[in-house]
Amino acid sequence: MASFKYESQVRAPLVDGTKDYHQVTEDIVRPIEAPPSRAWWIGFIISVALLMFGVYSIYREVTYGVGQWNLHKTIGWGWDITNFVWWVGIGHAGTLISAILLLFRQGWRTGVNRAAEAMTIFAVMCAGQFPIWHMGRVWMAFFVLPYPNTRGPLWVNFNSPLLWDVFAISTYFTVSLLFWYSGLIPDFATIRDRAKLKWRKLMYGLLAFGWTGSAKHWQRHEALSLVLAGLSTPLVLSVHTVVSFDFATSVIPGWHTTIFPPYFVAGAIFSGFAMVQTLLLVTRKVLALEDYITMEHIEVMNKVIVLTGSIVGIAYLTELFIAWYGQNPYENYAFMKNRVDVFSPYGWSYWLMMGCNVLSPQIFWFRKLRRNIVVTFFMSVIVNIGMWFERFVIIVTSIYRDYIPSSWAVYYRPTIWEVGFYLGTFGLFFTCYFLFSKFFPVIAVAEIKHILKKSGESYKKDMGKVENESVDQLYHEVHAAHAHH
């Protein structure tokens, strides 16, 4: 048959259970049509409360100035930029899954891409808060945009990595949002056409943009998805590269290294996949989507985690080697004294990072542990703690001891408002995610239908015949079929 594509029986099915197209719609749209559960309300209220605390922390910072944070002479960037890089890094898995794995024809991406893309968008929204509020006089934030102005015109500095970041982050956010939304349009139409309640029909009618499912529209939709994936692939790699340039193009010992771009990108994918695991392990359980986000999905993402975690580990060791081999006394001091030395003020954070990012993911070499939900959930949290400390180590241990030892005495620790701002972004992230999981299809309905007859469990069984039959038998069958015609 024309649309049947053969997939090896060795591969486990991507959609478990006996399902037809209607069942797929039912399974994914049902949670949207049901009233929210008690657990949803509790989670949502906690998220909104955290968000409110964050809003108040930002209010303090805007009213009283950046002095509300414990930044000082040597530490000009503390928690704020750590959190920025951490959130941007988390935002990398979504586009990696939706774009790069699309180009590599990885069928398993289909079960997780929608939620991962949503995570990307919310994480980039959280990341964007940090540089914006760090400006202090935030009402002048539009100064970062290049436009003819009455100040000269005084233009922005196009040679500065900080401006590259403005372009990279805003482009990344816009393109991810467009990619995500164009995929959502057909699914919104599915919900609209099933809706019985008037407000639901109206709301999803609005969101579906009048989608009908016409053959020509599908043809354009497929072409659009493919080209957007092609554009997003270099984009996602460029974003964390540019973020790493913020550090790498400076001449601060500990930052001034050429390994930063690939090392940051690998770390971003590492932390992003960990966050996808954290979110999806809960989502699949609460929304009963275990047939779509299967153990195979969890295992394959754990493989990505152990791979990228090991790349990050090699990068850490390379940095140490180069610090010693390069024979630059300042570089050597930053690495050997400020980081590796456990008894230095921030030595503990370096070893916490090493333990969480390099050592602990190695347990995923064992299949049993890769397929264990409790271990996976625990590890996904550990990895994100480790990746937060990676950014903390890079930022704080490189600058807390500058070239004037008299200013070394002050130990940097955040104020409650710095912590509050960070917690507030958790509030923003989870508020958005809770709303998403309630009102949007967390799995791409049309895309699952597209792979159902190739990788669905019941359909695969029928096709298994091709592999189990002997060549002779198959030859006779085909021959008989021809003779019949």
Binding site: F167, S170, S238
Partner: protein, 195 residues
């Protein structure tokens, strides 16, 4: 647009639609469209639709972005406000590559999505006639237009012979509208003919 008469046939399997589409094209009936809940690869070829040029549009938007970024930055940094940064050249092309790249991607992506929405006539508040409510769930819906040369009954029996599970005749607006076109202006009716 225009209000026309259509014969609508529903299929359960996308494989059946391929055969049906081929037979419709051979028979000379006017195939209006096929609606499906999922993209059916190769159906566009079977229907005789030409390839989409949305990629070409994306390429043009992309190089437009590159050109704008390069020309603006070089004018700003060499003519309008030449900034002396450590005595380095004003025309610092390597340092501009990140912004040129990002702007290329931004223009290509935004341009393509807008073009897609324009070509498919997609926008918030836009409404269109839906031939079958389950065309976005699990049914493949093939629609043949009734022209003066043939009549609905003839096409209906032809549609049945193709193996359609459900056949009916509808008079429908082919364009889009905003608001309650269907109820207030009484422009479309739904007369179901039992198959």
């Amino acid at each position: 647009m225009a209000v026309k008469k259509f014969v609508v046939g529903c299929f359960d399997e996308e494989e059946a639609v391929f055969d049906a589409v081929k037979k419709v094209r051979k028979s000379g009936y006017k195939l209006h469209d096929v609606y499906s809940p999922l993209p059916i690869h190769g159906l566009d070829k079977a229907m005789g639709l030409r390839d989409t040029s949305i990629h070409t549009a994306g390429f043009i938007y992309g190089i437009t972005g590159t050109t704008i970024a390069l020309s603006c930055i070089s004018w700003i940094f060499t003519k309008d406000w030449p900034l002396n940064i450590g005595g380095k050249p004003h025309f610092a092309l390597p340092a501009w590559i990140p912004i040129m790249f990002e702007f290329t991607v931004l223009c290509a992506a935004v341009g393509m999505v807008l073009t897609f929405c324009y070509l498919c006539q997609l926008a918030p508040f836009v409404k269109k006639h839906h031939f079958h409510p389950r065309a976005t769930d699990d049914k493949m819906v093939m629609v043949i237009e009734v022209t003066p040369k043939n009549d609905a009954a003839e096409i209906s029996s032809f549609m049945n012979s193709l193996g359609a599970a459900e056949v009916n005749t509808q008079i429908a607006e082919t364009g889009w509208w905003i608001g309650r076109y269907d109820k207030e202006q009484k422009l479309y009716a739904d007369e179901t003919v039992s198959a």
